[in-house]
Amino acid sequence: MQANHNPSEEHPLESQAEEYIQYTFDASPIGMILVNSEQKIVMNNQSFRSMFGYADAEISKLVINDLVPVGIRPDHSNYFEQYMRQPVARAMGEGRFLQGVKSNGNSFPVEVALTPIETSSGLHILVSIVDISERIHFEEVLTKTNQALKESNEELKQFAYVASHDLQTPLRSISGFAHFLKEDYGNLLDDKANEYIERIITSCERQRVLINDLLTYSRLENRKSSIQKSDLNQLFDEVKKSISLTIEEKKAQVFREELPVVEGDSSQLYQLLQNLIENGLKYNQQPQPIVSMTATREKENWLFTITDNGIGISLEYHNRIFEIFRRLHTQEEYSGSGIGLAICRKIVQRHHGKIWVESIPGEGSKFHFTLPFSQTNKLLNQEAS
């Protein structure tokens, strides 16, 4: 026990109480000193000594100004006088960056609370000090990491966008000149050469779809969404109209129940429905493919289900199909870019909903997604910024 305040010897009970207080004082992880009106430290604890690097004996020679950086000492004295005139319990230097100075002259960031204590020997201030070096350090690390993440995210967005654009120009040339070859020299070439030209053209088309989907995906990140009232009945019917040729060719049935009007970005919701309905028809070998959409009002959101009687998906792929570039089939079996469902997931997420699939191979699939009743006070592009 190291106190520089002599316990009274006259009253054993008081002396014991003071002993308890000093123990309690020393046990605190917070550095504490009791300062008198002469700016002298009349009591200190273990945490204070180890924080500032002073031995108990040295402390009685200190004034509190010795504990603050040289530059602010004149101000600090003024603050002290002011405080003594109007003593209230409060944090010191609210909003300012405070530093303590150790015995070796090194400074470190601190948080300080002041509590006035009226004693028989006059007004004292109980000063509680917390060393916040570690917190500051972690805050800095966190800020830096956040910044780096933001930058890399931004770069990634830009990269996808620019890459998609720049990939298109040579593609147009390749497909263009392949067409010229076919048109101008096709009759001079043998079947094999013509087949090769066809393959070039087909590959270009595939690449075009891929780049387009990639652009759509990266646009979801880049562009701000606009929320409006979107009638899903209307969107569904528009999608159905736009794929009427496929529906006719496949002798398919595409229908819906009465759907609600939701809040969201209409063009994104259109894309969502289009991708899900088209998938239902595409991955389908039934003589009559059937795709239907239903809506259920749940407690906090709408639950939508798009059901098909297609080929279905094995359980192990139920999560992975929503990842970008994840394909379960070769181009020859089913053509596609592997971006469609990733786009769907992104759209639903941006609308604060969830998307998942329920499916058994050979028995069709049910794609479920939720949308909140209202998007009010929610920014659709939160995760983008």
């Binding site: 654009h165 120009t169 593609l171 497909s175 067409h179 088309e205 562009r223």
Partner: protein, 149 residues
């Protein structure tokens, strides 16, 4: 050949740095059976010289229509469009932006500079050809262009 509104072949200046796109565009006009004399420069600076008939372009014809790519070296499409618009003489030329960029920012910026149209080059060649044909049909058989000064 189709009948041109001007009663003579149309003079088109294509400002484009990609040689392949130049060939594709030329071919598009041919396929459209339009009487078009297509001239070609590789960047904005050359475009301005052509329009002002400077240096090697002394004998260049006055174009009826400028097809302007946006991303080019030396002087890009945005810069040259700004110059054309600010020039009392050159501002009469219709300028159609023909670019791969579908970026909203490019669209807004060039429409603010009063470009006559903004066309995103389709990646698919067949569609590209169709766009060039329609472009030619519209500008040379439908639209009345300013008379030669």
């Amino acid at each position: 050949m189709k009948i041109m509104k001007a009663g003579r072949p149309a003079e088109v200046l294509l400002v484009e740095d990609n040689e392949n796109d130049v060939i594709l565009t030329r071919r598009g006009f041919e396929a459209a059976r339009l009487a078009v004399n297509m001239h070609h420069v590789r960047n904005g600076l050359e475009c301005l010289k052509f329009l002002r008939k400077e240096g090697e372009y002394q004998n260049a014809p006055t174009p009826d229509l400028i097809l302007l790519d946006l991303n080019m070296p030396i002087m890009d499409g945005r810069e040259v469009l700004a110059e054309i618009v600010a020039d009392k003489v050159l501002c009469q030329f219709p300028v159609v932006i023909l670019t791969t960029s579908a970026e909203e920012q490019d669209l807004l910026e060039t429409y603010r500079l009063r470009c006559s149209s903004y066309i995103v080059k389709p990646v698919d060649f067949i569609q590209f050809q169709r766009v060039v044909e329609e472009l030619g049909n519209y500008w040379f058989t439908v639209v009345v262009l300013p008379p030669e000064s």
